[in-house]
């Protein structure tokens, strides 16, 4: 049982709360969930100056104790001691931006009014000084009646002082509440905050801030959009270009492992299970770790630098055209890495209809799990031909698939907003945070967390799916002279599905591969690999990649229809589970499942029939 005192870290968005959390706890962090709600609970441990251990919990950033979203409700419930599954905090650390006391003190006053032992971290004091502001921390402490510690979380300055200040208030009798309890109403609180800020801050003449100068370029109607497009282009280019070498190492590693195991074990069921089922299945997925990490690196950098909100600003009007807001841009961009963090990121969207629409279209963004499928099929069926101007046909097809997903998502949003998620138009209102250099350590912590989540998924869900598939493909054992794949349990199930997918050009192997791919899209590649490896008992096949095994086995229209299927099909149980959790009902995940399968079937069908009509077979 965890008996260390709980300290809650609270503050406005953009106060540098997460950086302070990282600075206090280092890498000793635990990410979980609050029971019953979908809000992430991030906690970590550290020791006070006197050696006492405490548990620090990072609460969602919010502007007041009057919640507008589930995230903000958790913040209120934890600090007031009403959150189920959480003990009441022994103390709170309120993080405020020293350069924005006008606004941040309002929430700080509200929190101090709760009467818990409180320390105020006067954060980003360096940025305030850069702007020529002088903040008198002692005067602020007198006005607020609680200790105030100047900090620069990203540079790890003031962290020791914060530990000392916390040590002084935890366990000590809290001072009697001051006579002047803060007013409850927002406007009165705001005026009091402004008055305190005025007496504790010396302001220079207002001058054009650095942010404003940068934004005149980055938010420029033409240059700003061009820079955003260029950034996105570089990002997707990097995902492919930078990952080539590490992917090669991982492939070589798994290949060597397969050969080594095949050499040590006698041919038979066990060898087949380990080589064809386990190593091939997990290996074909782990290969995508480099690409996922590169994509997340960009997203984390864009978030931490403050650029992401600018991108939302630039995209807002466009998104409004299909009934969404610029806020949806951030979750949708994250969905290119994986729809799961993307869907979770929709929690910041206040408007429930906007949020629901964004959740429903997020699976249409081409996530990194589709990459293996696209890469293998394109490699096997699309000739590596130059179409002029140095543009390769394979790359062009891949770009087309990404684009199809985006256009499909926009059309879907347009239609959904006029039917199932009809309602008053939402709004777009966001704070443009200050620009700052991301701290490499914060980025690294974020990347390690992502890598761990992905590998855990590969080690559990995908491993299980691969083994199960191998079992279904290997039993019952076919008698001499009959095809093992056709005779197996999986083959028989596929035969049932085949008539349904036959009209859109799918063959028996595809029918077989799309069933286990329900667990995760990448499994389709592993499944095709396993099918063709079990089918031919040739030793040489082991050395071949799935691309080589597939090459030339399907007519082109079938391959294209298969790609189109994966643009739309909701082939990912984890995504469906997350939609269920985030919408708190079965209605929307089932709806998403239905509409996406129909879209996938129709789109694959149209592709197949058009390609046939064009005589591409």
């Amino acid at each position: 049982m965890n008996q260390a005192p709980l300290v809650a870290l609270v503050g406005n968005p953009n106060a540098g709360k997460s950086a302070l959390f990282n600075a206090l706890t280092g890498a000793r962090q635990k990410v979980g969930n609050y029971p019953g709600v979908t809000v992430e609970r991030k906690s970590g441990r550290f020791s006070l100056d006197d050696g006492r251990p405490v548990e620090l919990v990072d609460l969602p950033g919010t502007y007041s104790l009057d919640p507008a979203s589930p995230d903000e409700a958790v913040t209120r419930d934890v600090v007031t001691g009403h959150q189920t599954g959480e003990r009441p905090p022994a103390a709170i650390v309120v993080v405020v931006d020293a350069g924005n006391l006008d606004n941040h003190l309002r929430f700080a006053l509200q929190l101090i009014g709760l009467g818990l032992p409180t320390v105020v971290a006067l954060n980003m004091i360096d940025m305030a000084e850069r702007d020529g502001l002088t903040v008198d921390a002692e005067a602020l402490a007198r006005e607020l009646g609680v200790p105030v510690v100047p900090t620069v979380a990203v540079r790890r300055r003031g962290i020791e002082d914060l530990r000392v200040a916390l040590g002084g208030i935890i366990g000590a009798t809290p001072p009697a509440p001051r006579g002047d309890t803060p007013p409850a109403d927002l406007v009165a609180l705001q005026r009091r905050a402004r008055a305190i800020a005025a007496v504790t801050t010396t302001k220079p003449e207002v001058h054009r801030s650095l942010e404003e100068k940068i934004d005149r370029v980055l938010l420029h109607p033409v240059a700003g959009l061009a820079i955003l497009l260029a950034l996105l282009f570089v990002m997707f280019q990097a995902v492919f270009a930078w990952s080539e070498a590490p992917i090669g190492w991982i492939e070589d590693g798994f290949g060597a492992l397969q050969v080594a195991v095949a050499d040590t074990l006698a041919p038979g069921i066990l060898r087949s299970l380990i080589v064809d089922g386990l190593i091939a299945g997990v290996g074909s997925v782990v290969v995508f770790l480099p690409q996922i990490l590169i994509l997340f690196l960009f997203i984390l950098l864009l978030e931490a630098s403050g650029y992401m909100v600018r991108a939302a600003f630039l995209m807002d009007k466009l998104m409004a055209g299909v009934g969404l807001s610029g806020r949806a841009f951030i979750p949708l961009l994250s969905s290119f890495a994986c729809a799961i963090p993307g869907i979770m990121a929709t929690r910041t969207i206040d408007d429930p209809k906007d949020r629901l629409t964004t959740i429903l279209i997020a699976p249409l963004m081409t996530c990194s799990a589709r990459l293996p499928v696209y890469a293998v099929i394109i490699g096997a069926f699309i000739p590596a031909r130059d179409v002029g101007y140095g543009i390769g046909l394979q790359g062009l097809v891949l770009f087309g698939l990404y684009l199809t997903g985006i256009v499909g998502a926009m059309l879907a949003a347009f239609l959904l907003r006029r039917t199932v998620t009809r309602g008053a138009a939402g709004t777009f209102m966001m704070e443009l945070p200050r620009y700052q250099w991301p701290d490499p350590r914060d980025i690294l912590i974020g990347l390690v967390q992502r890598a761990w989540l992905f590998l855990r998924r590969a080690g559990t869900l995908i491993l299980t799916a691969s083994m199960l598939l191998w079992l279904l493909l290997t039993f019952p054992q076919a008698p001499e002279g009959q095809s093992q794949v056709e005779y197996s349990a999986a083959g028989r199930v596929a035969s049932v599905i085949e008539p349904v997918v036959r009209p859109i050009g799918f063959n028996h192997e595809i029918a077989l591969a799309i069933i286990p791919a329900m667990a995760a899209r990448e499994v389709a590649v592993a499944a095709l690999g396993t099918v063709y490896s079990i089918e031919s008992d040739d030793e040489a096949v082991l050395e071949q990649s799935v691309t080589e095994r597939l090459s030339g086995r399907w007519p082109l229209p079938t391959a294209l229809a298969f790609l189109m299927w994966f643009v739309f099909a909701p082939q990912c149980l984890s995504t469906i589970a997350v939609i269920r959790r985030e919408t708190n009902s079965w209605r929307w995940p089932l709806f998403a499942l239905g509409y996406l399968f129909v879209l996938a079937y129709v789109a694959a069908g149209i592709t197949y029939w058009s390609a046939m009509a064009l005589g591409w077979a």
């Binding site: 404003e212 807002d316 009007k317 966001m430």
Partner: protein
């Protein structure tokens, strides 16, 4: 004049906000961002399409909002 009519980079003061003219959620966010009568405001940037949304400075924060919300905010230009 209204906030959406205020030319870029001209300092002004909020003279009135029509709290009933906007939704309750929008009103709450505006208050949380520090919009209030008597507060200094200045438009800094506009979005690429149709000049929407607007980015304005309120206090020491820069806030992006849509023109539809800016309609509800009346301002008077500061005399230079």
């Amino acid at each position: 004049m209204r906030l959406d009519e205020l030319p870029l980079r001209r300092r002004a003061m909020i003279s009135a906000i029509d709290w009933d003219g906007i939704g309750p959620a929008e009103a709450k966010r505006l208050r949380e961002f520090g919009f209030d009568e008597g507060v200094a405001v200045e438009n800094l940037h506009t979005g690429p399409i149709g000049g929407d949304p607007i980015a304005c400075r309120v206090g020491r924060m820069t806030i992006a909002l849509r023109r539809r919300v800016a309609l509800a905010i009346s301002v008077v230009e500061a005399t230079a």
